[in-house]
Symmetry: C2
Subunit: 314 residues, 2 copies
């Protein structure tokens, strides 16, 4: 949202405030104030004008301006009803020099997961990509994947869903009783940079929110299935606030990840380009590797597909 418009909205939300006072405080013309109010009404903010001035009556349910309003993270939101891929759009923004933008779509037509895998993104989900330019070497990028997964988990848990983390980039809903864990969200982090410096990073989050699980792969679930539809504005604001808090305090990321980890303590099989490792996952290590206890001792895998195995006969 444009800066003055955001200031107008914030002042009205703290109001009531009259047009002339608003114009004076923001040092713009009354006509400009009126125009911003009209634009805000057009995008769905209900703004009343009583005797004491403008009052904010309601905020739109979803969309860019709705999420920017009250967002405790320094991102602009670019909203689309439908996009081929929010990560692809964020990469384009990166190429034109942008930063601190979150691309958000109600649906994606060509969403992708890690390693170019298909990712179903029906309308009603949360498909977002945050474009950031951290001063980090590319080697530390996995930390951002973990941070985004933790942020998503925290936001999801606040809706009452018992979600946890699967290394390296998934959020799962715990199975009840003997039920299987199912995938609720995934992270896809992409970047460009020099060998020792990230130029830009796009952290994509795909979260099956208000979608039918019948529209998803068999191993996936949705918030709708778990607890019914949730207000996506709150959800996205919470994800972005948690993500921002984690990335500005990098030492907090691994402890937060461990707290919600489903992978730790489990027997896992990790497939890497060099082969596979089977063992008990015992920790996550900076900048994001999984520490395994295998038959041949301790090893840390930095990359790979991880499968949670059934516990050995206990």
């Amino acid at each position: 949202m444009q800066g003055t418009r955001r200031a107008v909205l914030d002042a009205i939300a703290a109001g009531p405030i009259s047009g002339p006072v608003l114009a004076r405080e923001l040092e713009v013309s009354r006509a400009a104030v009126w125009k911003h109010v009209e634009t805000l009404r057009e995008v769905g903010f209900e703004i009343g004008s009583g005797e004491e001035g403008y009052v904010l009556d309601s905020v739109p349910e979803y969309g860019g301006p709705a999420i920017e309003f009250g967002l405790e993270a320094p991102f602009e939101i670019e909203f689309h009803d439908s996009l081929p891929s929010t990560n692809a759009r964020a990469r384009d923004l990166a190429a034109s020099g942008e930063s601190d933008v979150v691309v958000l779509a109600d649906a994606q037509t060509g969403g992708r997961g890690r390693l170019d895998r298909e990712w179903n993104s029906p309308s009603g989900g949360v498909w977002l990509s945050a474009l950031v330019r951290p001063r980090l070497p590319p080697a530390h990028a996995p930390l951002y994947t973990l941070a985004a997964a933790v942020a998503t988990t925290r936001a999801v848990r606040a809706t009452g869903v018992d979600a946890g983390l699967k290394w390296p980039n998934d959020v799962l809903v715990r199975g009840r009783g003997s039920g299987r864990e199912r995938k609720l969200a995934g992270i896809l982090t992409e970047m460009r940079g020099e060998a020792d410096r990230i130029a830009w990073m796009v952290v994509g989050i795909g979260l099956n929110a208000n979608v039918d699980s019948g529209d998803l792969p068999a191993d996936a679930t949705s918030l709708r299935e778990a607890v019914g539809d949730v207000p996506r504005r709150d959800l996205v604001q919470r994800i972005l606030r948690e993500f921002e808090a984690l990335r500005t305090d990098p030492d907090s990321i691994l402890p937060a990840w461990r707290e919600h980890a489903l992978t730790l303590g489990r027997r896992v099989r990790v497939e890497t380009a060099r082969g596979e490792s089977v063992g008990r996952a015992v920790d996550v290590a900076f900048p994001g590797g999984l520490v395994l206890e295998t038959a041949n001792g301790r090893t840390t895998v930095s990359v790979g597909d991880c499968e949670h195995l059934r516990p050995a006969a206990e």
Copy 2:
């Protein structure tokens, strides 16, 4: 170079060979053979046609076809007289899906070093960028920077220049007596990828070959200054061959780097985003960090500008 044309050239180089035999061996028409021979002549190959058939009399001094001919590395060469930046051109090729291409220019008009620093690239130098798609996590990218620096050092040493390596990405010519070390070449590695997988990597090498040192910054030197002009075709072929050999045998990279290191054993100051470290450089560690012995113990810096300090009073 197009595949059949390369095959025609290789057959003629191994010749003499007649047009009809060539056509039969390559399963193309005689007209096609004749056309390829004409094209090769146009780009500077002198091809004689005697009684026994075609003979290769001479190879052009420089340029794409000249370097591809006899190149012991699986790269196509895209040659330009002048480009803004070979790395930028290689990135564009990456975006259009290419791989295993080396972009080479006689001069660059907007060359850059690490961290967007200016890099003078007059005509006569070697300005090249190799586009590769290794199956590696971005964290391992620094290894490619070291490999390119080693490859350049080996090729330069073969011309009789006493060159060595400065961490992380420079090739220096040793000063004689009390003379200062001067910069001969630098590496700029860029990449795009996911958190755990490189999509493409562009390894840029800038080498002050047959250029006047007066056209370079004060701390730089050139092969022309050190030993006079050198045949650039041999030089580039050697660099690419060494680079290919190192990257296909990753375990050989650090030992090779140590062998030619000027930084090891020296007192250095390394400036990083977090501050500076001063100490004695004692080793290079996977995937490319510099190990320092400082007043506070051993530490490894993965990123930063390194300055060789004068020895403490000895």
